[in-house]
């Protein structure tokens, strides 16, 4: 059904080199985005045009497709193909970036000249580091045909199945979204660095609402490989939550024990990612700044059962730092920095923070890349077993509209949503109203009581459910 072939655009992009791209589409299952060979050739075509001291090229290519449904009908669906390049030119400590999605000779030359012109204009930055040279990267396979092949008809089929399930359950409205992408990211520079990663990803979520407006249930999944995702089980779970959450009983705000489902744990734990900056800590601008100067590395900061790490190989993510997709003006000296398994918190102790190359050199440590993936370890029990072992707690499905209120303590505010229940005597006794909460992930993880087995909740997150002794619900939200 989708007749625009990514390969057509790729053929045109590499034509300048007289290649026969069809021969170079390898591995053959990579249907969208530049292949490694194509990316290397196109990068060299761009690098060879520059007279700057240094040039960096970042290529992002592929197809993004989606289908959305609501009020028991498909509302929008489509796909978009693009190939874009970020070109960063350097003259000494001056650097600037130009991004374009035009690949004819004239446009590429104009883009390179544009980056050079801006770089000459950019004042000196004495924090600029020299370009990284050739690096060695781990293999992190992340491209799956089952995701790349999700066409409009297949996606409409998933939507139709959710809508049928909602109708058969009587009086439910289904709303959901299935998005997938397939493509590649590549980095190259004039110092000899080349990094490439092809990947697919999907994100699927469904919300079921009762027609009286008093019940709402959510379920979702994300990852790289669509094969093996049981969308009908997700629909059934959302329906069950919607029906169970109907007519919530009032519960006063206050500090309660909570069981957070994996999605809610991911919502909370990922708030730590940006706080893990070594520079902010060293400069006294973070929760991880030590009182007398320096950082809190080596200190016990949360319960000893908490271990938090990044692992691009396990998650099929790019095994290198990449700014592609961050948008715009972020000239980073860390592009292409190898990313491996990195432990942030181990047994409750802060083990590491992320260091840019500049800050690492200044502090005399090795650079550590940004936590692009987050994995939190768990314990060997299911969510159901976790609930069964709970005397009394609020069970939270997911969190919403989270905003920082105090960076000094990593404090945030947000809401609960789409399934809030009271657990009593090891079972869900009844639904309760939603809450606004004001709390810090550091506080929740310090009040930790038990964990479940971790599960993949999104393309970059794998976390368990948890029970914590205290969570601060500051006011009631009437919203359903």
């Amino acid at each position: 059904m989708e007749t625009i072939r990514r390969r057509d655009a790729i053929r045109r992009a590499v034509r300048g080199r007289g290649l026969s791209p069809a021969d170079r589409l390898s591995p053959p299952e990579q249907a969208f985005g530049l292949t490694e060979e194509q990316a290397r050739d196109l990068a060299h075509r761009i690098l060879s045009r520059s007279g700057a001291d240094g040039l960096e090229v970042e290529l992002e290519s592929g197809r993004r497709s989606n289908t959305r449904y609501a009020v028991n009908r498909v509302t929008t669906a489509g796909s978009s193909d693009d190939l874009s390049v970020r070109i960063t030119a350097r003259f000494g400590n001056r650097a600037a970036t130009v991004t374009t999605n035009r690949f004819d000779d004239e446009s590429l030359t104009a883009a390179v000249r544009g980056a050079e012109r801006l770089a000459r204009l950019a004042p000196e930055n004495d924090e600029r580091m020299p370009l990284l040279g050739r690096q060695t990267y781990a293999e992190a396979p992340g491209y799956y045909a089952s995701t790349a092949d999700l066409d409009a008809a297949s996606r409409a089929g998933v939507a139709a199945s959710a809508i049928s399930a909602a109708r058969e359950s009587g009086g439910l409205d289904a709303a959901g979204f299935l998005e997938c992408s397939a493509g590649s990211t590549a980095l190259a520079n004039s110092a000899g660095l080349f990094a490439f990663h092809a990947a697919t990803d999907f994100d699927y979520s469904v919300t079921m609402r009762t027609d009286d407006g008093t019940g709402s249930g959510w379920a979702g999944s994300g990852g790289r490989q669509w094969a093996g995702v049981d969308s009908e089980a997700l629909h059934a779970r959302a329906i069950e939550k919607a029906v169970l959450s109907r007519d919530p009983r009032p519960l006063e705000p206050g500090k309660y024990p909570v069981v957070l489902e994996p999605r809610a744990v991911a919502d909370l734990v990922e708030l730590l990612a940006f706080s893990l900056s070594a520079r902010a800590a060293d400069e006294g601008r973070s929760a991880f700044a030590a009182g007398g100067g320096g950082t809190r590395i080596g200190e016990q900061i949360v319960d000893s059962r908490v271990t938090l790490l990044s692992d691009p190989v396990e998650m099929g993510a790019a095994p290198f730092s990449s700014p592609v997709g961050f948008g715009g003006g972020f000239v980073s000296d860390d592009n292409g920095l190898p990313l491996g398994q990195q432990v942030w918190i181990e047994d409750g102790v802060l083990k590491s923070l992320f260091y840019s190359r500049y800050w690492a050199e200044r502090q005399g440590v090795r650079p550590v890349g940004f936590p692009s993936t987050l994995i939190m370890q768990g314990e060997d029990r299911s969510l159901e077993e976790l609930i069964a072992s709970t005397e009394r707690a609020v069970l939270v499905t997911r969190l919403w509209y989270i905003r920082s209120i105090d960076p000094r303590t990593v404090a945030f505010t947000g809401l609960t949503r789409d399934g809030n229940f009271l657990i009593e005597g090891g079972r869900i006794s009844h639904p309760v109203n939603n809450f606004r909460w004001n709390d810090s992930p550091l506080s929740v993880l310090s009040h930790l009581e038990a964990l479940s087995r971790p599960e993949r909740v999104s393309v970059t997150r794998k976390v368990p459910a948890l029970r914590a002794g205290e969570f601060n619900f500051s006011s009631v939200s009437e919203a359903v």
């Binding site: 796909s79 801006l118 809508i163 601008r285 006011s475 939200s477």
Partner: protein, 539 residues
Amino acid sequence: MKRRDFVRSSALAAGGVALVRTPPGRAAAQGPPFKPASRLPSVDPATRDLLLEALDAATSAGAQYADARVGLYLDQRVGTREEKVTNVSEESSLGLGVRALVNGSWGFAASNELSRAAAARAGRAAAATGAANARAVRSPVALAPVESYGEVGWSSDYEIDPWTVPLGDKAEYLLGLNRTALATKGVSFVNSSLHFVKIEATSATSEGTIAAQRIIRTNPSMSITAVAPDRSDFQTRGAVLDPVGRGWEFVRSRMTTGAVEVWASEAVQKLSAVPVEPGAYDLVLHPSHLWLTIHESIGHPTELDRALGYEANYAGTSFLAPPSEVLGRLRYGPDFMQIVGERTSPGGLASIGWDEEGVKAEEWPIVKDGIFVDYQTTREQAAWISDLTGITHSHGCSHCQSWEHIPFQRMPNMNLLPAEEEISEEDLISATDDGIYIESRGSYSIDQQRYNFQFGGQVFWEIKDGKKTRMLRDVAYQARTTDFWNAMDMIGGPRTYQVGGSFYDGKGQPGQVNAVSHGCPVARFRQIRVLNTGAGGRG
């Protein structure tokens, strides 16, 4: 990590978000009016060919309606930190997107390739996707009628195109302001940046309108951080200015040395500000703060698609439902509360000539004399409520972030009109015995039906016996939307009216951003619950 992965996987992804708008029949509130530099774009013949090719392919493949756009989207950013330029960048993206309605169902396709063959392929692909979706449709989409305008042009109201100002000059301008901030005793860090957007887009519908439009937007920002000498505390003054649909002249006139001196001194004063005692206070909210409360608690709930469940899986639904029970009935606030939606104000971020469905921009009441009277609509949505409102045409709210995004209903500029008499900010403060004055946007969060919200700010002053006394800190207020607006008892006059806004209002799946402005006067709200966000926010 890719930014979109992070945003998509995160509950942070919830939609969130100064210039001068002349309220209808009232004088401009602030400063001299900017002179328009209208150089209206016209339809380029090659672009027209591509659009017609795409529309023809879609309709030949069975579409009863199609729209298409070719757009060049330019971004330019300059960022600095203290005495260093941290980044200089330019982005450009050019492509074509087509939307087709087949058997009452939508399909969309987009490509960065610009050729007649690629345009035709996109038109057919959009129609094929629409046909595939028709299996999951009960009631077909019906579009409200629209006039055919032929070939038309429109431009933002700007004086100096930011692309005509050398980037080096922009960087030097920011570095000069950073020096001013750092010269203030106690200031340790300063970040400043400029982000400019220029869009040259031509949209066409199968019903005979082709609109060539040029959009210019400017977003200046600065945050100034003061660190206590013993490192026990740090405080930042940010959100100093809001973006506008104007050019370089806005930066020169508003991001000045004098203004930076005030912001820097506020950052330092925040270190010694007194923690707020939780309780109920009368709040005097400056327009630089109040616009965001309007955006979140009036802007989003009045999106008709949202009210009817179309956003249920993402941003949520709305307390303003069902329409038959709230239109013309729900009291939003006091009799003097007038909220208008519009895409026509000069300098407004959501201002446009024609929307993505060929509907001409207009202005209309959303809340009239305190009563909720209308929603934001597109052509698909107009008929859903026309028997309640008597309005059969679209309000022109169809928008897409770029050529690769599907057009759907997005927020127009929405404004709280000032009092007709000249009531000053001083009048509000002197009438307040025990209150808090709040400037600029801080942390903000609101639930998925837009009942319960919590807002912080940047600068808080205690008001005692009619006077601003000392600076407070760690202030946030919580309220229920209609309780809050019904607690509004005073608003300022035209001279207190200012416009705020955001480049980053989020909605939809996949998420799209929309730039939107909100104008309002200073206003007072009685007995609102205030909490202290210090101590991990758990106090």
